[in-house]
């Protein structure tokens, strides 16, 4: 197990280098950051040249990349255009998004798995069909539609919640945005656990458990659920990374100052240090989440052993 983890961590290095370089390259292709810094005004050529020199922008791309990576490993992600250091922005944004993600994951697990189990056990009946249709609708409607719709209904029309989230983003204000963020994944979790349950309910070991005289509840939770959830756990694990990076739309709708919001601002203003820095961290989160899922897999299924 230990050796496996080390090997996986080592494998992350090339993935990390490759993906960060790709991001770096793409942001570079966005346009001239110095021009963006000056906004609409044309920069004074001498000042622009000086800034370029200070930021190594006059050097070839691969050298810029090396400088950047060197700085990252010293904990310096650069400075945003407004003078704030990128690390400072991260310290403000990541906890907010993490909280939002956790709220979303919570709903995915609780609602998604519950619906999945119920419909899986009643395959072909009314409950099952309604859940299937409902999830299909949820999957087909994009987040910006459901987001604005729920915000309007719950926040504006009925006034049950604040339509926008205050800067501190306390947990109770994140419930509605959390649900909006979770919806599509929730529908997938529902479908995945439904299929898995419906398949496993016919498995021989479930029949054995029944033949052993175990109460139905024990057969379902201990024998059926445990086996059926293995693929679901994999999905939810990888979804953590996706949700953290994919909250851009949701954070925009509810004015949450998290990772998505900062990324959006960064891209809009051609603020390359912010974009590259945030995406780099997201890459790491994604890689670690994947490793965790693989390790969890071995815990859930004893047939899988890593060496």
């Amino acid at each position: 197990m230990g050796r496996y983890v080390i090997r996986r961590l080592l494998q992350m290095i090339p993935v990390f280098i490759g993906s960060t370089f790709l991001i770096f390259f793409m942001v570079y292709a966005l346009g001239d950051p110095v021009a963006a810094l000056f906004g609409d005004k044309a920069p004074d050529p001498a000042t622009a040249a000086r800034i370029r020199k200070d930021l190594y922008l006059d050097q070839p791309l691969w050298k810029q990349y090396l400088h950047y990576m060197g700085a990252i490993f010293q904990g310096d992600f650069g400075t945003a255009f407004n003078g704030q250091s990128v690390t400072e922005l991260m310290a403000g944004a990541f906890p907010v998004t993490l909280r939002l993600t956790l709220v979303a994951i919570f709903f995915e697990i609780v609602i998604g798995i519950t619906l999945g189990v119920i419909s899986g056990l009643r395959r072909g009946r009314t409950v099952d069909t309604s859940v299937l249709v409902l999830t299909l609708v949820v999957i087909s409607v994009p987040t910006f539609v459901t987001g604005y719709l729920l915000q309007y209904l719950f926040g504006v029309k009925w006034g049950w919640v604040r339509p926008t989230v205050s800067p501190d983003a306390p947990l109770n204000e994140l419930i509605l945005p959390g649900i909006v963020l979770a919806l599509v994944s929730l529908a997938y979790v529902t479908r995945l656990s439904r299929t898995s349950i419906a398949e496993n309910v016919k498995a021989d070991y479930v029949r054995t458990a029944t033949a052993k005289g175990l109460p139905r509840s024990r057969v379902v939770t201990r024998h059926l659920l445990r086996n059926s959830l293995i693929p679901v756990v994999t999905f939810i694990g990888t979804d953590i990374g996706a949700l953290m990076g994919g909250a851009i739309v949701t954070e925009r709708i509810f004015n949450i100052h998290g990772v998505g919001y900062q990324l959006y601002q960064g891209i809009l203003r051609n603020n390359s240090p912010t974009v590259v820095g945030f995406v780099t961290i997201l890459v790491i989160v994604f890689l670690l989440a994947n490793l965790l899922v693989d390790l969890l897999y071995a815990v859930l299924d004893p047939r899988i052993r890593y060496a």
Binding site: K202, D204, R207, T208, A211, K212, G213, P215, N227, R303
Partner: protein, 363 residues
């Protein structure tokens, strides 16, 4: 607990206190068989109609007795067993009629909870494929111990000790070291031993073994069958052995019921059936056994296929495949006639559902 201690003492000693005890428990009388299946009917609702899987099956098993139920796939032998255990896939399956009396009580009329308490405790089942029948994510010790935790309310620690004891009893080497292993870490034969141990855990009165050796190597088959027979004798259990392997049957069974298309077509004490089958289907089954003295000759096979349960042929279900079928066979369903000698002497336990059973057995 007392019973436990006693039965442990006479382990290997043959007959026995536990036998006497269990007779005492049932009231001493052997008048009521342990299990009586009476005109049982099971059907499955499918998209194309109702499949009649079991059409009036009756058999009985007494304590210490072994009944072998023989038949091709789809003959309804497993479905009958599942209906007895109460583990039919329902829906689509459903018991459409009949009675199943266990210790004289019709268990089909019991509540779900009452039946659940019988399962595993008083009647247990051994399945064909132990690898898929054991839960892959729990250790065998956990799955064996679960019987004691759920039915006896034992603690984790005590149930683990019991699990080790059981594994010893079914002769799994190094039981103590292997109790924490998972099913996939055992060989096929060892896994089937674990299935047997699980079924025997609470010393049930009735065991149903559904093709317990089909998935095993021939060499291992005999070992597992011997073990099962030995433990059955020791605990004086009734055993229903479902199989399509005539070789297995000869060694362990007391009596045989042959099933075809959801009906019993022949019943007989085990040795008589080999000598003198009284139904053309049984004859066909016996003739399809490969024999050494017929080396080089083509193997006999019953012509045609078992009927579609959605459209069972009118009359005798076997008639389309039967070499001796007459007009009456295609119109009238034969009842299970008692089989007698030519002079009318009764042959106890023998029955044949063939219009021409006399020709078959005496001809």
């Amino acid at each position: 607990m007392l019973r436990d201690n006693i039965s442990k003492q006479d382990e290997g000693g043959g007959v026995t206190t536990s036998e006497i005890l269990s007779v005492a428990e049932t009231g001493g009388g052997s008048a009521v068989p342990l299990l009586e299946v009476d005109n049982l009917q099971v059907e499955f609702k499918t998209r194309d109609g109702v499949a009649k899987a079991v059409n009036g099956v009756s058999y009985s098993v007494s304590a210490g007795e072994t009944l072998a139920v023989l038949g091709e796939s789809g003959s309804g032998k497993s479905v009958t067993a599942q209906a007895i255990m109460g583990i039919l896939d329902s829906p689509p399956g459903r018991v459409a009629g009949g009675e199943v009396r266990f210790h004289g009580r019709d268990i089909l009329k019991m509540s779900d909870e009452e039946r659940r308490k019988l399962r595993g405790d008083k009647m247990a089942m051994i399945f064909q494929d132990a690898l898929s029948s054991l839960n892959p994510v729990y250790s065998v010790g956990d799955q064996l111990g679960e019987m004691f935790r759920v039915h006896r309310g034992m603690s984790k620690k005590d149930s683990k000790a019991k699990a080790i004891e059981l594994m010893d009893r079914v002769k799994i080497p190094a039981a103590k070291a292997r109790v924490g292993d998972y099913p996939h870490q055992f060989s096929g034969g060892m896994r089937q031993r674990i299935m047997i141990a699980m079924a025997l855990a609470l010393e049930p009165d009735l065991i149903i073994a559904d093709e317990p050796t089909t998935a095993l190597d021939v060499t291992v088959q005999a070992q597992v069958m011997d073990l099962l027979a030995e433990l059955q004798r020791e605990m004086n259990m009734g055993l229903i052995l479902i199989t399509h392997d005539l070789g297995v049957v000869a060694d362990v069974a007391d009596k045989i019921a042959v099933m075809y298309a959801g009906r019993i077509v022949e019943t007989a004490p085990v040795h008589e059936i080999y000598k003198r089958p009284s139904h053309p289907y049984t004859r066909g089954l016996l003739d399809s056994i490969p024999r050494l003295d017929q080396k080089g000759q083509e193997l006999y096979a019953i012509k045609g296929l078992p009927p579609n349960l959605l459209r069972i042929p009118a009359g005798c279900a076997f008639s389309p495949r039967c070499p001796k079928a007459q007009d009456i066979c295609r119109t009238e369903i034969p009842a299970l006639h008692p089989v007698t000698e030519l002079d009318g002497t009764e042959l106890p336990g023998r029955g044949s559902a063939c219009h021409f059973w006399k020709d078959q057995i005496h001809g």
